[in-house]
Symmetry: C2
Amino acid sequence: MMRFPTAWLQGISLGESIACELRLRIINGTIKPGEVLSENRIATDFGTSRSPVREAMKTLSNEGLIRLERMGAVVLGLSLQDIQELYDVRYLIESFAQQRMASGNHEHVIANLKQMIDKMELTVKYKDSVEFSYLDSCFHEAIIIAAKHKRILHLWNSIRHIVLTVMLITTDEIFLEGETKLNAVIEKHRRIVNGLESKNVKLIQQVVQEYFADSNITLRNSIS
Amino acid sequence: MMRFPTAWLQGISLGESIACELRLRIINGTIKPGEVLSENRIATDFGTSRSPVREAMKTLSNEGLIRLERMGAVVLGLSLQDIQELYDVRYLIESFAQQRMASGNHEHVIANLKQMIDKMELTVKYKDSVEFSYLDSCFHEAIIIAAKHKRILHLWNSIRHIVLTVMLITTDEIFLEGETKLNAVIEKHRRIVNGLESKNVKLIQQVVQEYFADSNITLRNSIS
DNA sequence: ACAAGTATACTTGTATACAAGTTACATTTC
DNA sequence: GAAATGTAACTTGTATACAAGTATACTTGT
């Protein structure tokens, strides 16, 4: 049974940490779609009052993982198709961001991205899949932040917890498959950096497209 | 001083209605950026307890209208540039949705859209700007729903309240400018329907692009 | 006059209490 | 046996209470 990394829970409120824990359980299937969650039940399960649970429920509802109803919140879960849809949105957001990065100087950002990729290689060496997924998330977030578009960044923030959690789960599986696959993932990130460095709009477009198309394939294989 | 339509507050919780009221005040500038909101103060202002206010604050924070901090929530507001960014996102979402609608049969949806446009013309006759903005929002929502993409629909839901409120304010101003402008807005919607009916991907793409480009211009003129 | 420290008032996060409404089940009635 | 009714348990929405932390302002010492 997988647990949410306690390091990621530092400095956040009870409500947020309950949201993280429930989110993980919903995405990895411990809590199944159709199940009905009661604030009281969860509160007693976590040994807290309803207040933070209520906050967590609202968060998960905003993320589309559950649907709040008059009596109880029904779990919607995250099916394979849902994850593919998530990739669709990630593609929309990131291709927009990368196109925006094409104009303007972003040497420092690119330097940052390269450093992150180097760190990724280290996590492979030390078999730290948790850190890898964190870096992966940071990599894409850095690109979106660099686009300097508040609303787009906001869109990312509205899915980043889900994306991070999905990465946490899938990265763990990829680590089990050995280094070949991991190196391929890292190489994909390098290609993105190369694209950004070229400042060639067409090339960037193509690289992003390939990135998410390939991620989709990886996803399918990982499930089947 | 503009008030949030009471008809739109029916059947929703106190927390949501407080969110609607605050949202309007923030967007129309009654509450100015930089201002610090305290849960207690708002609770006494609205004559309620902190619980629903807290819920409203979380909602507004999720919408990017305020930023929750240790002491008080600072108002971020919605500048002209923010609204333009909002149009960027709307364009991304709706062009995606319309492209998706290009394939497949959507006669009933298109019939619905046409009906809405007819209703819009009625609201012009009876000078009901509130209903017009509501129909405008429903029109675009119908298209997004027709795309049958949960995540994209979710993205729309995360901005729909803001969009509706912005429409409420700007539509009110357009009504003051007379029927010529209004008929132009309605005509733009007709062009969208024509695009969808053609099922021609290129044409649809062009129509959506023109729609949001023109909306941006309208916005600029409306402010200056 | 100025710096340091303390007190005070206000903030959020969490817990608990209560009210109104919904669901499910048992009981009653036909 | 079946339908209707009433009741009991459980649900959320809102109000209130308390604790821990923070900023402000005042006081005190130099």
